[in-house]
């Protein structure tokens, strides 16, 4: 095969597994019994051509090259007779991966063959809407749009403290919201109302942290009628006005 032939094929591969599938198909070999030496050799040839063409070779191609080489060397190792039955075929994991990839590659082709809106079939264009919509109704908005909006403002300020929000911080907000919800519903709660026996350690910690944060912000007040009595919490000063 000449370099020219490689060149034509290069950009049509969706990744190393795709290249491997192509080689298996081209050589008309059984995917369940891949001649590893032959396929590895051809795979390396492709990799070398890509390199010589200074193509940006994704690390994944090299990773699979290493895997192939490793399998090849394992296939060459002699195995003793009693080991043989237990030993799995060194190719097994790779074959499994290839079969799975092949399944989804075909599923993708299946999707592509469907009647795609805007490509094969069309619905009616809606240029304008003469009637205003209802303010209380929302279409379901994707979280992606929300995060994207947050990223936009954060990048604008260039401030690191804004960017740095972790799962812990958001989980704490969850607990804060739950507690305020409960207080709005019931007016007053005791400390123990907020803690359930079934709570995980993590949830207990978040509950305490949330109460501390709410007290620090003075969104809630804590009372104790008698010494050592139940600690009661209320929303401070009401939420209106």
């Amino acid at each position: 095969m000449t370099d020219k032939a490689y060149e034509i094929k290069l950009d049509i591969f969706e990744g190393p597994l795709d290249l491997l599938l192509y080689l298996i198909r081209k050589n008309e070999v059984d995917i369940y019994d891949i001649p590893i030496a032959l396929i590895t050799k051809q795979y390396m040839e492709y990799i070398n051509v890509m390199r010589s063409l200074n193509l940006d070779l994704a690390g994944e191609y090299l990773l699979l090259a290493a895997t192939l080489t490793h399998i090849k060397s394992r296939m060459l190792l002699p195995t003793s007779e009693e080991e043989e039955e237990e030993d799995e075929d060194p190719r097994e994991e790779l074959v499994r991966q290839l079969l799975e990839y092949k399944t989804f590659k075909e599923a993708a082709l299946g999707l592509d063959r469907m009647s795609i809106l805007g490509r094969d079939v069309f619905s009616r264009d809606q240029a304008f809407d003469e009637i205003e919509g209802d303010d209380q109704l929302f279409r379901e908005i994707g979280i992606f749009e929300l995060v994207e909006a947050f990223r936009r403002v954060s990048v604008g300020t260039g401030r690191h403290d804004i960017m740095e929000i972790d799962v812990e911080k958001i989980s704490l907000s969850d607990r804060i919201n739950d507690i305020v919800d409960e207080l709005e519903k019931r007016g007053e709660l005791t400390f123990t109302d907020l803690l359930r026996e079934t709570d995980s350690r993590r949830r207990l910690i978040y509950t305490f942290l949330a109460i501390l944060e709410l007290m620090k912000l003075r969104i809630i007040n804590a009372y104790q009628a008698v010494p050592y009595g139940a600690i009661r919490i209320r929303l401070a000063g009401g939420t209106d006005g």
Binding site: D125, F138, F150, A236
Partner: protein
């Protein structure tokens, strides 16, 4: 052409403005204007005789499907239910509240760099944002957080389902 009527119908259907005979002629090259006109007339008659919910009408020198005039009340009712979108500015304000809550207005403004009073009012009215309380310091600033409806609108089980910016950045590859 066998399916001339079907093609014309599809063309008029997908267009958001009335379709003229000249436009159809440009698409179906080997059909005469006369043939086109008579086919469109057939279609108009068919829809009229059928007496369904939609009719083919001649409008502004072209043709367009329109809903029957007697059906306007129902159509209006449907259109009135059309869900609203949030403007990018409202979305950004909402995002800051969602991620930074419980948060004061001054903090939101520091991040967004502009006054957010109007946007906040809008989000409160839409019940996506709520007042969680007032901080007991001079000026008694209001503290904001998100609502249950916020979670529903975004299909979230809890706020902790929100991705962090670090996770989001990973998508840039």
């Amino acid at each position: 052409m066998d399916n001339l009527k079907a093609v014309i119908e599809a063309l008029i259907f997908v267009s958001d403005t009335p379709v003229t005979v000249a436009v159809i002629e440009g698409i179906l090259e080997d059909v005469t204007k006369k043939e086109l006109s008579s086919t469109v007339d057939d279609l108009i008659r068919e829809y009229k005789e059928r007496g369904g919910g939609i009719f083919l009408k001649e409008i502004a020198g072209g043709y367009q499907f329109r809903t029957g005039e007697t059906l306007t009340p129902w159509v209006r009712k449907l259109k009135g239910q059309k869900p609203m979108d949030l403007s990018p500015a409202a979305m950004e304000t909402l995002a800051v509240i969602a991620y930074r809550q419980p948060v004061m207005k001054s903090e939101i403004e520091k991040v967004r760099g502009v006054d957010v009073s109007g946007l906040l009012r809008g989000l409160l009215e839409k019940n996506l944002v709520r007042i969680m309380g007032r901080k007991n310091v001079p000026g008694r600033p209001i503290i904001y957080g998100t609502t249950r409806k916020f979670l529903e609108t975004f299909g979230l089980k809890a706020l902790s389902d929100l991705p962090t910016l670090r996770e989001f950045k990973e998508l840039e590859g």
